[in-house]
Symmetry: D2
Subunit: 386 residues, 4 copies
């Protein structure tokens, strides 16, 4: 009954997360990348209905015949769907109806999981994938809700004490690595995504990597020394991004008189200098490293050294583009669309963040985002070739 227990834990965690919200907070989608909380709750439920219940239970009745269309995200194999930018147009189903949808699917899933031992490995894997998928949306709930709240001139407070603030580095200094042949990719018993496979060998040149992440104080120095005004630190398209958006600081930061404040899930508060920097995009991470005369680590350098430093507070930008590992094979059918089709134009982030759900972190985990995005809880770890 391990899977059942995990199912119940993950599913109830989603409900805990939205507990502080008002009904209205479940609706808006201010930009295309940011989905409404209501949508996250329903889409993760749709995954179980579409991928597990409908194919495996011959007499299963879907909760609502249109939800297949309304809550599909990007699975071409499943058919047409509400266009992504239109998720915020939908006031219905209501939050209450979405909760009924969750309860309905949960009831069927829990009955289904009673015979856990009789389930085929493929089905068990799919259920595990559904739970991992929901955990990813739990993190997106944080980032999306923070983004939407930040645009509101009333600066809504999610929950006092619930802002995921005040992370500091516990150790500092360089870690020297001699490189050579290393093993990369997932190995072992538990779950991993297909993009962590196949485990393979890679060769690393000697390098060193920081044990600590860049702090707010560090980054303020970059700003004060005109980091956002000097093109030589930036990629060409990063420099365009700076100028077109008139960027002068990380996302959510604003100058009030001489001081920096930033929007958080506890509202607008001063930026504490000693805390670990958050919400930079790849362009900013790269520019900061250039200014320091250093660089970001590759994802392999990161993975090879990950047992030797603390990680898990920020997703950490790497200098690696998101590409398939040797012999990468995507699955057949809809779940094959999970990772592989995004392997272009994105950069890899390693680690995990304060917003990552419990049990969802792994040193071989490969997160990925477009270089202009900073609404994840992202940070910077520096490296250098030796």
């Amino acid at each position: 009954m391990i899977l059942l227990k995990k199912y119940q834990e993950v599913r109830s965690h989603s409900l805990q997360l939205v507990e502080p919200l008002k009904t209205e907070d479940f609706v808006p989608q201010p930009v295309v990348d940011v989905s409404p909380p209501k949508w996250h709750l329903a889409h993760t439920t749709w995954f179980f209905e579409e991928m597990i219940l409908s194919p495996n239970l011959s007499d299963y009745q879907v909760f609502h015949p249109r939800y297949r269309y309304v809550f599909n995200s990007y699975y071409e194999s499943v058919g047409d769907r509400v266009a992504r930018p239109h998720r915020g147009w939908m006031s219905r189903p209501t939050v209450e109806e979405v909760m009924e949808y969750r309860a309905y699917v949960d009831a069927h899933m829990q009955a289904f999981l009673q015979q856990e031992e009789q389930l085929s490995p493929e089905v068990r894997d799919l259920i595990e994938l559904g739970l991992q998928h929901e955990q990813q949306h739990q993190e997106l709930f944080w980032t999306d809700t923070k983004f939407t709240f930040s645009l509101n001139p009333l600066y809504p407070v999610y929950k006092q004490g619930g802002a995921l603030l005040h992370q500091i580095n516990e150790e500092r200094g360089w870690l020297e690595q001699e490189g050579g042949m290393v093993d990369i990719g997932f190995e072992g018993e538990g779950f991993c995504f297909d993009n962590e496979l196949n485990r393979h060998q890679a060769f690393l040149n000697p390098y060193r990597i920081r044990k600590d992440l860049v702090t707010n104080s560090d980054f303020m120095a970059f700003i004060e020394e005109d980091g956002y005004k000097r093109h030589e630190f930036w990629h060409s398209e990063g420099w365009d991004w700076v100028n077109q958006n008139e960027r002068k600081a990380p996302l959510y930061w604003e100058k009030e008189g001489q001081d920096w404040v930033h929007f958080t899930m506890e509202g607008r508060v001063p930026v504490r200098r000693e805390e670990i920097l958050c919400h930079v995009n790849y362009y900013e991470a790269f520019a900061y490293a250039q200014w320091r005369g250093l660089r970001l680590p590759t994802e392999f350098e990161w993975e090879a050294a990950a047992d030797l430093f603390a990680w898990g507070k920020r997703w950490e930008w790497t200098q690696s583009a998101y590409l398939p590992y040797p012999k990468y094979q995507k699955a057949a059918g809809a779940v094959g669309e999970y990772n592989g089709k995004f392997m272009v134009s994105q950069m890899v982030l390693r680690g995990a963040s304060v917003a990552t759900s419990p049990g969802h972190a792994r040193k071989t985990y490969r997160n990925f985002f477009h270089p202009q995005l900073a609404w994840q809880f992202t940070g910077i770890r520096l490296a250098e070739s030796l």
Copy 2:
């Protein structure tokens, strides 16, 4: 206590209108022209706070210091405001908070209106303007909610029996008018908008005008005879609109097999042939008239004959651009921004619609919209020069 009574009637009518909504329905803004119901409720309240209470009551405390910013629509004189396309980003204030805001302002306004007789004519006029303004937003509530619901693949039902459907023409035929000098513009005791002034003379050539409005059946014939495929009936920019948007029928219409259905506040229902056509834009109204070898009336022709035919079911497109009357003078200050600054690039509509609030119609009333818009309850009355 006439003004007090009217205040109470108008304000409570707004609440009646939103009564069938779910909380979530108050939030979305799918396109820039369509505001969330929550915003309509708050903005109309803001008008009384900003224009009446704050200037006239020295000890008045605003309900919330940021609402001046959040709920200003387009009054440059009042200062900065939330950009219009961002109204749907705001989950807060909640509906409940907006209702508290209304109650707070209502309590102060009602106390203020106890001394109704002692109020200056200017203040009374402003209060009257505030009520007319709220009635305009009551109509916008209909049009905006219908538009947002129509985009939802679940086709929400506002209220059974509440769809403003089933209007038919009560009389038919031509009305011949010999023209000559006519008086145009508002005259009398009651309220009018500044754009209905000054009353002045105009000369009309002989014309005839229909007593009935174009029906669904009439318009189906236009569609069937390739009205949307023959450029010769359309303005150049109307033809571009047809092609860029692949339009083949009025807003909300869709073909199901051989039959037309349309989205209404009662969901998706068949188009009844005998009913009066609704939701055409100016381009469509013009093209239809061209196809018939007729034309739309000018706003003066309409006004001069309005006592002789039934009107009030559709806003009726005229062939007149929205321009000032002779000696038109806009008021000083923020209320001067009410009408005058929109007198370019829009067309005049005359009449009133089934969605117009009780007591808000007048034969000298000048409504105005851009030619591509059809989300109002608009229709077509034909005319011809003699």
Copy 3:
């Protein structure tokens, strides 16, 4: 042989206009509204080939089978065409080939016009229309070339002494008009466009109108008194235009230290204070009038008084939207697309400009442009209701 002579005059005038250009100047189209000179030369030629030669000469061979497609402007009746924004993509046909095309069509037209007396009135009218059409493109040549040159950091000089500069007012003061019934629209023997018909009566309230046009000096005062910074003078969409484009002065004006310079066909030269203002759009003309406490005349007020003041140096913005006259009837076929399909969303300009070709001005002439456009030689005449 009157038509032949006029044909030769008009056609050779086009060639005189482009004589100072370099071959490269014939190619660019920097914005969609501005066509390449090469295109103007060929499109006006296409008109004669398509409308006169092909339909009337049974053995006529078109110069090039693809030119019908390449040089059609907006005639839906004639079929598909190169999309308007793509005119500047076409390096071919070369200028030389276009000149050969002109010579070929001219040779056939001149032969055709030998039997001038035997031509039907309809054909004669079409030829006349073709010549008027070419004259309109001669004026567009000025405005388009000026616009393109102005974007070049090298500030090309069209021709010394060829800049159409130095117009001043010859008289000043108000002209009072008692109004009443007036006759509007073309009457007489010569050519007019269909939009000048039918001649009809209109009633005017008493007004006065300036004998002089607004000067550069006048407009500098508007700028100095923050005319571009005070919303109260502007239409709502005019104010958006100001802010989105960061406009601070008329088109082609730039501040150099304390002085204004402007780009002209003689390059960049100081703005002379006493000269008549040029290159304002409708929003600017309206805002200027508002600031002065005056208004623009209607097109009927203008026409009724036009014999009493000097005009012809600027196209003058009126307060009238471009709409059909009573009993306006567009022609059948392609030439019916000449005027009528543009009668929405545009404002009427009256008069003529220094760039208007000789013999092309008429007091009943109705020019029209969208309110944001200022690349014509436009100016401001003020009026006031009495």
Copy 4:
């Protein structure tokens, strides 16, 4: 005098390339990525003036004071410049003036190169870079001119026999590679770009790679088997690209009846089945490989095997993102902007093409383009992990 001779050869090659053009062909820029031939000729000249003559000759007078602004491409260090999308707006300087500019700079450069032996290594390297730069623009001349011509409904012919057509594979079959440690990056005496350094070791897993490139015939099979209609072969953003642009075949291909024709520098001609495929973008290359159950090689796999197969006819898409090599160091100053700032969001191409200038190919050469671009002479070589 080696450098002088090379200077003369490279510079005169540019002139040979443009020899078949008409003056008008030097002007248009239909899309932002495609620069006018005139601009290529002047910008490459600007490089020598700005980087060599001005800094090294104290009495050097620039040819024209504004050209520094007009012909800078993307060098932030050099200052402001004409915005890239506006290059096609500039009819001046004329082609003749650009030729005078070239002659002026050539005269000074040739005098300067008389003392070739006395030049510092840094200056010699910069001159060499300027020549390599000009060779890159020679290739861009081909691709840009082809693209512009292809948009012209008259289908201009560059030169009979000058279309770079009819390349076929000389050998076929798989080449097996056992992988292991390989040396990557430039080594030796001659010129290389900074992005080819530092030479370093990399580890390769066993793989095989094709000796031949994909042919038109191969790709037709992909089209016929619905390659452009089956999402499962495409990246998510590639699939969006297909649908938004309604792509059904490679760039320049069109179906005529049952046959494929394509636009070439010799006009529109049939696609020959046996020839090597050209003008696919990364999305298409990836999708084709997916359909075949194979993949693209990495750039290291390509380089490690490049001595064993024929290359040089197509730039070949690899599965590698464009990223810096270990210890990559960009140069100080403007030339440091040459490569490094583009190392994000682009894919590496290896090889060289039929449009590459003589002497410009190298097996360590790293070309790079955004994944949606296909106007280079690009092709597909397949690989597979063993």
